[in-house]
Assembly symmetry: D3
Homo-oligomer: 330 residues x 6
C-alpha cells in the first residue's frame, strides 16, 4: 500500500508545525511541502534549515517525498504581469520587469532542486508557466509558428534548470494543468519532445485538471508510464447537462454554483479513482499518493480527514500470486 501524504499548498496560511499536528491527526503518513508560506523557504534553506524541517516532520512521524514550487515555477516562462506580484516573494518580483522576474525565478527553481537534495529527496513538483496559454482559443488566430515559438521558449528556459537537476540527481515533475506549457496528453507529448525527452523532466500526475476538460486521465498514465514522478489525488465535479456557464468558466469565481466545474473533496466529484489506482499499479508507481485538498464549499479540516480515509480505503496491494495459477485451479 502506498503512503498517503498531504500537500500543504492549501494550508500555507498556517505555521508548518500547526499543519504537521493536523495532518498527523487526520491520519496522513507524510507531507508534500509547499515552497511558500513558511513551509519551505528556499532562500533560507541551508543545511541547518533543512535539517530542522526534517526534524519537525519526524516529531509528528511524517515522511517527506517531494517539495513543490508551483508559484515560482509559474514565473519561469510566463508572460509576467501584475498578477504575478501576489504569488511571488519580493526578492523574485523585484522591480517587476518581466525578463528579470523570469530569470530570478529560474535561479530560484534551481535553488529549490538543491534544497530538495539537502532534504534527502529527489522530486520537485511544480508549474512551468507558458507564454502561449493565452492562445489556447485564439482569435485572431495564432499561427503554428507562434505556438512553436512558445514551446521553444519553454525549452530554452527550462533545459538549463533540468541539466542542473540531472547533475544533482533531482527530477522536476510538472503538474499538467491549464495555464501551463502542458495541459493535456498532446501538449504533454509536445513538451517532452521540445525538451528532447530530458531525463530530469516528468509529471506530477493530477487527474482533476484533466477530467473536466474531457482528457482521458487514465490513458495519460499509460502513455507516460516512465514519466509519472509523483501523484496528486484531487477530485473535481463537472456538469453533465448543458448549463449557463460552460467549461471556459464564464469569468465566474470558484465555488459559484453556476460554474461548470469545481474542485471537490475526494470521493465527492467525478474522477474515477479506482481506474487510476489500477493504472498506477500496472505501471508500478510506488511513490506516495498526495492529497491536494480543495473544495470551496467545505470545511477543510473535515475534508482533509475524510480524504485521507478515502485514499486508504481505495488503494490496494498488487496481487501476490500469479493470475494464471489461480485460474488453472478454477
Amino acid at each position: 500500500m502506498r503512503l498517503v501524504t498531504l500537500f500543504t499548498g492549501q494550508w500555507a496560511d498556517l505555521d508548518l508545525e500547526a499543519v504537521c499536528r493536523k495532518a498527523s491527526g487526520f491520519g496522513y503518513d507524510g507531507l508534500e511541502l509547499a515552497c511558500w508560506g513558511n513551509h519551505m523557504e528556499i532562500n533560507k534553506a541551508d543545511d541547518a534549515y533543512c535539517a530542522s524541517r526534517k526534524k519537525l516532520l519526524d516529531k509528528y512521524r511524517l515522511k517527506l517525498f517531494s517539495i513543490s514550487t508551483h508559484l515560482v515555477g509559474q514565473a519561469v516562462c510566463d508572460n509576467i504581469d501584475i498578477r504575478h506580484k501576489s504569488i511571488l516573494p519580493d526578492y523574485i518580483w523585484g522591480d517587476g520587469d518581466p525578463e528579470g522576474v523570469r530569470q530570478r525565478a529560474a535561479r530560484e527553481v534551481i535553488a529549490t532542486g538543491h534544497a530538495a537534495k539537502r532534504l534527502g529527496i529527489n522530486t520537485v513538483n511544480g508549474f512551468t508557466g507558458s507564454s502561449i496559454w493565452q492562445y489556447m482559443y485564439s482569435f485572431p488566430p495564432a499561427s503554428e509558428e507562434m505556438i512553436n515559438q512558445g514551446f521553444a521558449d519553454f525549452a530554452r528556459r527550462w533545459k538549463p534548470i533540468l541539466d542542473e537537476y540531472q547533475k544533482i540527481g533531482v527530477k522536476f515533475a510538472l503538474e499538467v494543468h491549464p495555464t501551463e506549457i502542458a495541459f493535456d496528453i498532446v501538449s504533454a507529448e509536445r513538451a517532452l519532445a521540445a525538451l528532447d525527452y530530458h531525463p530530469a523532466f516528468g509529471f506530477n500526475y493530477d487527474p482533476s485538471h484533466l477530467g473536466y476538460q474531457g482528457v482521458d486521465y487514465v490513458e495519460f498514465i499509460y502513455r507516460f508510464k516512465d514519466r509519472i514522478f509523483h501523484v496528486h489525488m484531487k477530485d473535481v465535479y463537472w456538469k453533465e447537462n448543458p448549463w449557463s456557464v460552460g467549461v471556459f468558466g464564464g469569468h465566474v469565481p470558484f465555488g459559484d454554483p453556476r460554474r461548470y466545474w469545481n474542485f471537490r473533496s475526494l470521493g465527492r466529484g467525478y474522477i474515477q479513482f479506482e481506474e487510476i489506482i489500477r493504472a498506477l499499479n500496472d505501471i508500478h508507481y510506488e511513490g506516495p499518493l498526495s492529497v491536494e485538498w480543495e473544495d470551496s464549499a467545505m470545511d477543510r479540516e473535515a475534508g482533509a480527514a475524510e480524504s485521507c480515509d478515502f485514499v486508504r480505503d481505495l488503494d490496494f496491494k498488487l496481487s501476490g500470486i500469479a493470475f494464471d495459477a489461480a485460474f488453472e485451479k478454477k
Copy 2:
C-alpha cells in the same frame, strides 16, 4: 418559413459576384455580407457603392438582411498584438499602436452602421473583442476587479458606437463566442448589464460556439428572447469520450483528428437544430437563418449546398390553428 441566407465570410477569397452565382445555385434566398474581401468595403461604401451591391444581389435574386464586421469589431476592445495585423485593413492597422488601432476600429464599426443604413437594412453582426478573454482560466488568478475592469472597458468603448447606431435605427448583434466579451449565458448577461441593457445591443445567435463548451444553447434563446437579432446556423462535433486533447484544444489546429471538437457541415455534428427551430418559433424570431458553413474536412461547395437543403427540410411554419381547438375534437 424563414429565408435561408449564406454568410460570405468563408468565401471572401472569391469575388462577390462569384459568390452570388454559387449561392444562388445552391438554393439560398440571400446573403449575409462579410465586411472584408471585396464583399462589403466600408471605406468605399457611399450611396453608389451600396446601390451597386444591392443591384448585384438582385441580379441573382438574393436578399440582404445584415452585414458582418467580425474582423474590425474584434479590434475595438481587444488587446492588440501582431495577430491583428493579418485580419485588419491597412488603414485600420496603421502603425499598429494598440490604442490607435482600437479607436480606428471603433470609428469603422460606426461607419459600418451607416453603410447598413444605406443598404436599407438594420442589423450589423460582429465581434467585440475582449481585454479579459486571456483570463478565462487564469493562473496567477485574475482578481474580480480585473474582470470588472474588462467589462467596464467593453462598455466604455462600445456605448458610443451603440448610441450612434440607435440614432440611425441600426442594431449591433454580437456573435457570442470564445475570445469575445460574452461567450456563454452568464457572460452574455453581464455584457448586457455592463451596457445598461442598451437597446441597440443584442446577439447574433450561433449554437456552434456554445454546444461543445457545455452551454445550454436552447436555453440561451429563451433567456435572451428580445435580443436575438440574427441567427447563424452552424454545426459542431465534439468527443463524447475522453481523449488525448480536451476542450482547451491542445494547441492543435482545426481539422486535426485529435481535436476534441471541430466545426462541421450542417447535420453532421451534434447541434440539435430541431430544438433550436422550436425555440425560435416560441420567441417569434422571423429573421433569416444564415448558414455559416465551416468544415475543415469537406469540400465547401458540396457542403454549402447540402446545408441549404438541411435548413429547408428542418425549418417549419408555426401552427395556423389554435392547439386547444384541435385537442377538443380529439
Copy 3:
C-alpha cells in the same frame, strides 16, 4: 409495404371532402375516419350514407380500414362530468346525468360497429374511459379493492358491446393511453384478463403515449402480438434532463416549452420507429400505418405531408429469401 393512412381526428374542423383532397395531395393511401365532425356521423350512418362516404373516398383514390370513436368511447365507463359535454354529441350528452350518458355512449359504440360493418371494414378504434384513472397516483391511497372494482366496471360495461361486435365480425381496438383503462403493458394485460380475453378486443397500438412514460413500446408489440388490430404512427418528445415541469405535466398546456413532453411531427421526436417497423414485421402485422399527426408548434399541412414521406421511407418489405440460404453462401 404497408399502406399509409391519415387519421382525420385532428382535421375534424374541416369538411371531409376538404380532408380527402388534402390527404390525397400529401400522398396518403387512405383515411382512418373520426366519428366526429362530419367525417363519420353514426346517427346518420345508414346504407346510403355509408355508400356515399365510400364513394367520396374512392373519388380521391383513398382506402378505408377503420373508423374511430375516441370521444364517445371515452364516455362508456368514465366518471362523467362537465368536461364530457364538450366532446359528446348533444344526443348522447342529453341531460348530462352520468349513468344516462354512459348508457347512451355504450349504445352508440355498438351502432359504430354496425356502421363499420356497413362500410365493409372490421375495425373500430377508440377509447374506453376509466373510472379509476384518477387513482393513478392517489393520496389518500386507493385500496386494491377500488382498483379491482374499476376493472370490473370496465368489463361489465364493455363485454356486451364486444359480444355484439363479435356477432357481426367487428373488432374494437383500444388506443392504450393515459386516462384509459389500459395505459401501459401491465394494465393492458389486466384489461384483457378482466374481459376473459374477449376475441373482439385488442389494441390500436400508438407508441407516443407509452414512450415518455418509460413504457417499453417495442416489447408491447411482442407481448400482445395477436391483439395488435391497428397501428398509429405518432411521435413524441420528452426531456432527457431534469426540468421545471415533470412528467405529470405541471398543469401546463400542450405546446408550452416548459412541458416535459409534447407530441411532434413524425421523425422530430424520440420514438424509434425503426424498431417498431421491425417488430411489426416480426408479428406479421399487415394492416395500415395510420398517421395521427399532432404537433402544437407546427403547421399541420406541412407536417402531415412530411409525415407521410417519413413513413414511406422507413417502412420496408420483409425479406423474400430465407436468411440461412444467403448466409451459407457467404
Copy 4:
C-alpha cells in the same frame, strides 16, 4: 453540521416513547413528530400535553424542530371521498360531508399551528390537498379556467390559515408532492403566486417526489431559496430502461418489482444527495435534515439506522476560510 431528525410518520403504529427509544438508539438528534397515531394529538394539545411531549423527547435527548400534518392538511382543499375516512380522525371526518370535512380540517390545521407554538417551534409541515390533481393528465381536456379555479380554491381555503399562522409566528411548509396543489417547480411557483407570496407559506423540501418525475430537484432549492423551511431526506429509485409499467404506476402497489419507481432507504436509490447538501449550503439552510424513511422491501429498523449514518457521513460544514485567500497561495 446540521442535526439529523427522524420523521415519525412511518412509525405511528408504535407508541411515541418506543419511537424515542429506537431513534435515540439509531443515533438521531431529534424527531419530526407526526400529528397522527399518539405522537402528537392536536385535540389534546394543551400546555400540559405539549410540556409532557417535550419532556419525553428530552428524556431521550431528542430535539424537536417541527410537527407534521400531512393527513389532515390533505383534506383542506381536496375532493373528499371515502378514501379520506381512513386517514382522518373521526372528529374531523364526522358525517363525511365533503364541505364539512374540509372546514373541520382547516380549523384543525390552525389548531396545529397553535400547538406548534406551545411546543416552542415555528414550523408545521404538511400537505394541502388539491381539487385539480385529478386533471393532471386529463381527457376530456380540463380547461385552463378549471385549473385556475383549482388554484383559486386553494388560495381561498389556505389564506385564512396562513394569516393566523403569521399572527403567531408559525410557518406552514408544504411537502411538494403529486396529489398536492404543487408537485413540481412550475406548480410550486403558481401556488406561491396564488397566495400572493404569503410570508407564512413555504416548502418542506423532499427530493424523492421530484426525481422520478424528471423534475430538477437541485434547481428547486435555488429557485425557492427563501422558502425552504424544512428538509426531508428520502431516497427513490426509478427505472432507467423502458419497462412494463411506466411512471404513471400501472395501478400496481408500492414495492411490486414491476413498478417504475419505489422509495428506498437512503443511499440505495438515485437521488444525488451530494448536490442537495451543496445547494442547501449555498442557500444557508441551517435547519434539520429530517429522514423520512420508507422502503417497502427492507426492515425499517435497519434502514432507519443506516440512513442516519448516511446523512451524517454526507453532510459537511461550510468552508471556514475564504476561497480566494487559499487560491492566492497556490
Copy 5:
C-alpha cells in the same frame, strides 16, 4: 440477513485449514468448498473424511451449504482436449481418450452428490461443459441441427446424473457461464427444456458472467425464480467506450489493461448488487451469499476481507411490517 460464505476455488493452492483460518479472520460465516486441491477430495470422501471436514469447519465456526465441482463437471459433455488434462485429477483424465474422460467425469459428479449427502448438504454447484460452445459465433455457420444435437448430448449425459441426485435429495446448480451449455437467459431456458425441467437441476446464480455480455442479470433472477439454488457474489468491470479489444477478448490474458472486461473485487466493478439483493428478496432466496473472489490486480487477502464487509453492508432483512399499513398512516 443471509449468511456470507467464501468459495474456496481461488484458494485451492492453500491447505484447507489455512483457508478456514483466513476466512474466519476475514469475517465469513462459512465456506463453499471446491472439489479440488485438498479442500474436498471426492475419491476419499467416505463418512470419516466427510466428518473430519465438517469438524475442521466447525473448529473455525464456519458453516457449509454447498460443494462445487466446476472442473470435473466441465468434462461431462465437453469436447475433451489437452487443456482438460491440467484441470482434472489423473484418475479421471486416465489415458485422455475423450469418451472415457467424459464417462469417468460423469461418475465422479454422481460421487460428488453422494459426498454432499454425507456432508449433510443438498447442493452441488458446478459446470456442465458444452459440445457446442465453440459454435458460439461460427463461420462456416453451424446448422440449427448441430445446435440441437449439442443440447441433446447435454441432456443425454446429464439426465442420469440428475436422476441419481433426485433419488438422494441433492440438487445440481449450474453456474451459467460462457463455455457452458447455458450462458444467458435464452440458453438457460433451452437447457431446462432439454432436461424436461428436471427437478434436480437449477442454477448457481453469478451475475459477473452475465453483465459484461449485456445479459439482464436481474431479470434472470425473476425468470428462474424457482431454480436459483445458490448464489455467487462476484463483480466484473467492462469498458463503456469502444476500445482496442472487444468483448471477445482479443486472445489477451485476464488482467491485461487492454481487455474489455476483467473480474474485480466486490464493489469495484459494475454489477449493481443492490438490485440483485432486492430481486433475491422478492423471490425469497434464503441461502448463502457466496463470495467468489477474483481480481487479477489485487492482493487476494485484502480483497476477500473487503468483499465480506461489502456484502454485509449491502444485504438487508425484508420489511417486517406490511407496507400498506405504513402507508395508510402517512
Copy 6:
C-alpha cells in the same frame, strides 16, 4: 467522391448478369465479385474467362476493383470439419481430410491472386480462418503458448501465399471478423506482427464486425492507416439495454428478435458512418466503398437500393482549399 460498389456475396444465388442488371439499376458504380456461385469461378479463370467477366460488367457500365474469397480463404488455416463442406467447392473439399483441404485451399487462394491479376485488379479480399478462434473464451483455459501456436500456424500457412501475391503485385485484404485470426485491433496488430508486416497483407475494413463487440472501429482506421486496402460498408444494430441474449449470441439464429445484435441495411443500425468517412479522408483512402448488404428482416432489393443512396449522400469530397486561409479571413 469515392465510387460505390456492391459486394455480390449475398447475391450468389443469382446469375452474375442478373446481379449486374440489378446493381446497375440500384445506382451502383461497380461490383466486388464473390468467388463463389457463378460470379467468379477460379478454376475456370483463364484469360478468356476473365475477359468475358470484364466485358459483362462493362456492358452494365460497372467497374471492378476487387474479388473476394471468403469461403476458400476460411479453409486455409481453420480446423476443418463438416461445416466446411457446405461452403467449399467439391474439388477443394475432396475427401474432407483436414490437412488436404487446407493445402488445396491455399493453392486456390494463390490462383485467386493470379485471376485478380488477369482481371487487371490488385486486391483480393477474404477470410483467413483461425485454428484458435475456438479459444476466444476458453475453459479449461488455453495457454499463452496455444495462442502463440495459432498465430504461428497462421503465419506459416499464409506467408507463402503472400509472397506469391507480392511477386505479381496483388494484395490480400483480410476482413477482420470473429472466427478469423484477427477480430479486433489487438489481434490485428498481432496478425501483422506474426507476418513480419508482410507488405502484401492488409485489411478489408468492415465496421459491422467491430461495433457490437465494443471495438473502436474509427480508431482502427487510424491505427492501420497504411493497411486499409479495401472498405466494406455494412451496418449493424445492437442492444443498448441488458437483454435475454448477450453478445455471445445464445445459439439463436440471425434475425431472431431476441438476439443482441443483427446486421442491418445501411443507416438503420448503430454504426457512425460519418466518423468513418472522415477517418477515411484523413488517411487518404481513395478506393471504393463497397456495400455488403445483409439484413435478415428486409427485402434485399429495396435494401441494396437505399444503401447505395445512403452512401452517396454521406460521402463527401475533401476540402479543396486550405483551412487556415479560410480562417484567416474570418
